[in-house]
């Protein structure tokens, strides 16, 4: 397939996944802050930090409040990672490959964008819970429509590759920022707020119910393990990497355990690290350091994918 098309479908999926994650962050945080006392409720700055855009935020708004945090994360046009910007970028990418994707995918994304645009003209504070649910549902609908209307060929795999890398990155960021914010509260384990905060973290990753089924009681170490190493939970980093690896292997035609290019080599290395790591080793290494390293390596894999498959300078062009 055309390199440009592969690039667009990859980014289209990344942007949709990003929008969905930001919507979930805001929604979970919003509900959490309604449950806890005011003093403990300044959970908006850490949320901004989770997205990695704290410098831009400080420049635009300074101190984080509920209002400006939601505005920034949901609607800010100057924030390339706001829900608004992500949906718009996803749609621009889709528009540039409209002939390639199914018309059902396009129509879903276009109505998603129109819905987003209509909401963006309203004040952020009047945006009800169902707006964020709509964003998440639209994203899920897009993934479902993609899976059932598009050939599961090269293009589909590039899309899934993008989505899984984005999701792995976002899960690692949630865990990285929140874990350290919440950890001091381990001192008063058993207080009702403690459970609320940890449950909110799990909800930020849509992981609460699945975690309960898997591990039962709320335990920070188990939560970290669930979001990092679980093999079956679709937002766990391990799951994302394993799925991304399958797509990458199918794109290049490599056998599992072998590699045809640097992206595949790096990804295989990162995946096997997750496959053969224990939580004890991760904590010994340092959870933050481990997550930081994972994020750096995910970025590198993204760059390598770009150079190998999408760069217009590739393929011996004269």
């Amino acid at each position: 397939m055309l390199s440009r098309v592969a690039n667009s479908i990859y980014w289209l999926n990344r942007y949709i996944e990003r929008a969905e994650n930001v919507a979930r962050f805001i929604d979970a945080n919003y509900h959490m802050t309604l449950d806890i006392p005011e003093s403990a409720s300044n959970q908006w700055q850490p949320l901004i930090n989770t997205t990695g855009d704290h410098e831009l935020f400080a420049e635009l708004h300074g101190h984080a409040t509920r209002e400006n945090a939601i505005e920034f994360l949901a609607f800010e046009r100057d924030n390339p990672n706001s829900i608004y910007s992500c949906v718009r970028s996803a749609r621009e990418n889709a528009r540039s490959i409209r002939e390639y994707i199914s018309s059902e995918m396009w129509e879903q994304l276009n109505t998603f964008y129109l819905m987003m645009n209509a909401a963006a003209s309203e004040s952020a504070m009047h945006i009800p819970h169902h707006f964020f649910v709509d964003i998440m549902t639209s994203s899920h609908a897009f993934i479902g429509i993609t899976d059932s209307t598009m050939n599961h060929g090269e293009g589909w795999h590039f899309g899934r590759l993008g989505r899984m890398l984005e999701r792995a990155d976002k899960t690692s960021r949630i865990l990285d920022v929140k874990y350290y914010i919440l950890l001091p509260s381990v001192d008063y384990v058993g207080s009702p707020y403690d459970n609320i905060l940890w449950a909110a973290l799990l909800r930020s990753a849509s992981a609460f119910e699945m975690y309960r089924k898997r591990h039962g009681r709320i335990d920070p170490k188990k939560i970290a393990e669930f979001l990092l190493l679980d093999r079956n939970f679709p937002r766990a980093i391990h799951y994302c990497l394993a799925t991304a690896m399958i797509s990458l292997n199918l794109i290049t035609g490599s056998q599992r355990g072998t590699y045809a290019n640097r992206a595949e080599q790096s990804m295989g290395r990162l995946l096997s690290q997750f496959e053969y790591s224990s939580m004890k080793e991760i904590f010994d290494f340092g959870l933050h350091e481990y997550l930081d390293d994972t994020q750096t390596r995910l970025n590198d894999i993204g760059d390598e994918i770009h150079d190998i498959f999408f760069s217009p300078k590739m393929a011996g062009a004269s």
């Binding site: 055309l2 440009r4 409209r98 002939e99 390639y100 396009w106 129509e107 276009n110 011996g316």
Partner: protein, 494 residues
């Protein structure tokens, strides 16, 4: 809503012969609309617009920063054309395209028509669309212009006239197909009752035609549609046609000339392209041959083309024949190459480079429509009767300083159609752009084409860039029998 109070105000109306009297073939439609419950028609109009928005059937507006995409306004009352009337138009268009292709081929090769004194050499060579690098090119089967969109208008006398030929990258066919789809969705009963010739097979015919052009020896040709990109005003159409044909949509950056072949950059390396339906102007195609500053083009493309390694539709240089000054000569061009009289007339045209014509134009600016020969999209026009004295003065100055670049035509009483306004019907002026495909042997004319409507009351300008809208165009079947939309009608003559 009913047609009871509809007033055609003395104009030729496409649906009514006189106030309240339907034209043959339109009666069924009018009856149906009159029998719809109150506000049902408006409801369907709104549903149709919503569908267009959700489907993202839009065009880009350059000047407007906030909203760069707009839906092309669409009126759900169709325009109807009788079968017999259509047959004449179809023959006339085929004749015209055949002659124009012979002309293009001639001016870039033997130039017989110039040597025989039919058309002045300086007129041809000074045409905006004339391209020196095309001299000596011999496209497969002698066809240069494979895709044409010819603008027709109907005058107050009820006759159709050719307003202009669009031989470069005519757009709008996607709206014809989408309008039809929307009409069938929102108006199934009325559509069902009338017997309308199908348009949906256009993409298959376009693909067949493109594949026929492939360089000899290529077994399963790789076809691509070439777009300047998502910011082009016709991007929707480029993408739509590629999708409907199931071929690649490429941008300049996707293409490269490698070992004399045109290749696409893919995730697994370079892959050859055999046929390119280009929707990008000549000037931007190859920076080595045309504009050196083109960022959209593919260096070396023209060399590959001239060596027959890749086919281009339309060929570069076709614009020489849609110059508004050359237009004035088309009746002679038809006579010269085909020894026939033109079946569809030109609008009488005064060419300002002829001193007598120029004087007449300058003296009658208040009665004429003046057009700059190098402009399109409704720009560079003076509509004399509606213009102010200052505007006429300005055009007078422009014409005197450069007569070659202006033509003038009498103001036509363009025919009208009823359109849905808030709560009643009003007449609006229309034109018609049928689409013509010139293949190896056949010339296919899409039955109907794009009916463009001037949405502003009294306006004669129908271009989308000037706020025009569109309607579905129904060419009725001769027999009056139902034909399924998917039926495949074979071309008989040619």
């Amino acid at each position: 809503m009913r047609f009871d109070g509809y007033d055609s105000e003395g104009f030729y109306d496409e649906l009514f012969t006189a106030d309240g009297v339907a034209r043959p073939g339109a009666d069924l439609l009018i009856e149906r609309i009159n029998s719809l419950p109150e506000s049902e028609l408006q409801r369907r109009q709104i549903a149709a617009e919503k569908a267009l928005l959700n489907l993202g059937i839009t065009f880009n507006v350059y000047s407007n920063e906030a909203q760069t995409e707009k839906i092309f306004p669409f009126d759900i009352v169709p325009r109807i054309i009788q079968a017999q009337e259509w047959q004449v138009l179809e023959k006339g268009l085929q004749q015209r395209i055949r002659a124009l292709n012979a002309f293009i081929n001639d001016v870039y090769n033997e130039q017989k028509i110039i040597k025989d004194g039919i058309i002045p050499a300086e007129l041809v060579f000074s045409a905006d669309g004339y391209r020196k690098p095309c001299i000596g090119l011999k496209p497969p089967h002698g066809v240069w212009c494979h895709i044409t969109g010819t603008d027709l208008v109907r005058n107050g006398d009820g006759q159709f006239y050719v307003l202009e030929d669009n031989l470069r990258c005519p757009s709008g066919v996607s709206y014809v197909l989408e309008n039809r789809l929307i009409m069938k969705r929102t108006f199934p009963m009325v559509f069902d009752a009338c017997s309308v010739q199908p348009v949906t097979d256009y993409p298959s015919r376009l693909l067949d035609m493109l594949q026929e052009m492939a360089p000899s020896g290529v077994r399963s040709p790789v076809v691509a549609v070439w777009t300047p990109g998502i910011y082009n005003s016709a991007y929707f159409e480029h993408s739509f046609l590629a999708q409907q044909m199931g071929v690649q949509l490429v941008e300049g950056n996707d293409l490269v000339v490698h070992n004399g072949e045109v290749m696409m950059r893919t995730t697994t390396g370079l892959e050859r392209v055999d046929v390119i339906y280009r929707r990008i102007d000549d000037d931007f195609m190859d920076p080595k041959v045309f504009r050196a500053d083109s960022m959209l083009g593919v260096p070396g493309l023209m060399e590959a083309y001239s060596k027959g390694r890749v086919a281009l539709a339309n060929a570069p240089g076709t614009g020489v024949a849609d110059d508004k000054a050359v237009y004035a000569y088309v009746p002679e061009i038809i006579r010269y190459y085909l020894q026939e009289d033109a079946i569809i007339n030109n609008v009488p045209t005064y060419a300002c480079w002829r001193p007598d014509d120029c004087n007449y134009v300058l003296e009658n600016l208040d009665k004429l429509v003046v057009k700059a020969v190098n402009e399109s999209g409704g720009y560079g026009m003076l509509i004399g009767p509606h213009a102010s004295a200052a505007e006429r003065e300005e055009f007078s100055r422009r014409i005197k300083s450069n007569p070659r670049t202006y033509i003038a035509q009498p103001t036509l009483a363009l025919s009208r159609v009823p359109v849905l306004t808030d709560d009643h019907f009003e007449g609006r002026h229309v034109d018609l752009r049928p689409y013509i495909l010139y293949g190896k042997e056949n010339i296919y004319v899409l039955p109907g084409g794009l009916t463009r409507v001037a949405l502003k009351k009294g306006s004669l300008v129908v271009n989308s860039s000037q706020g025009g809208g569109s309607k579905d165009t129904w060419v009725l079947n001769e027999t009056g029998e139902q034909s399924p939309e998917s039926s495949f009608q074979m071309q008989e003559d040619i």
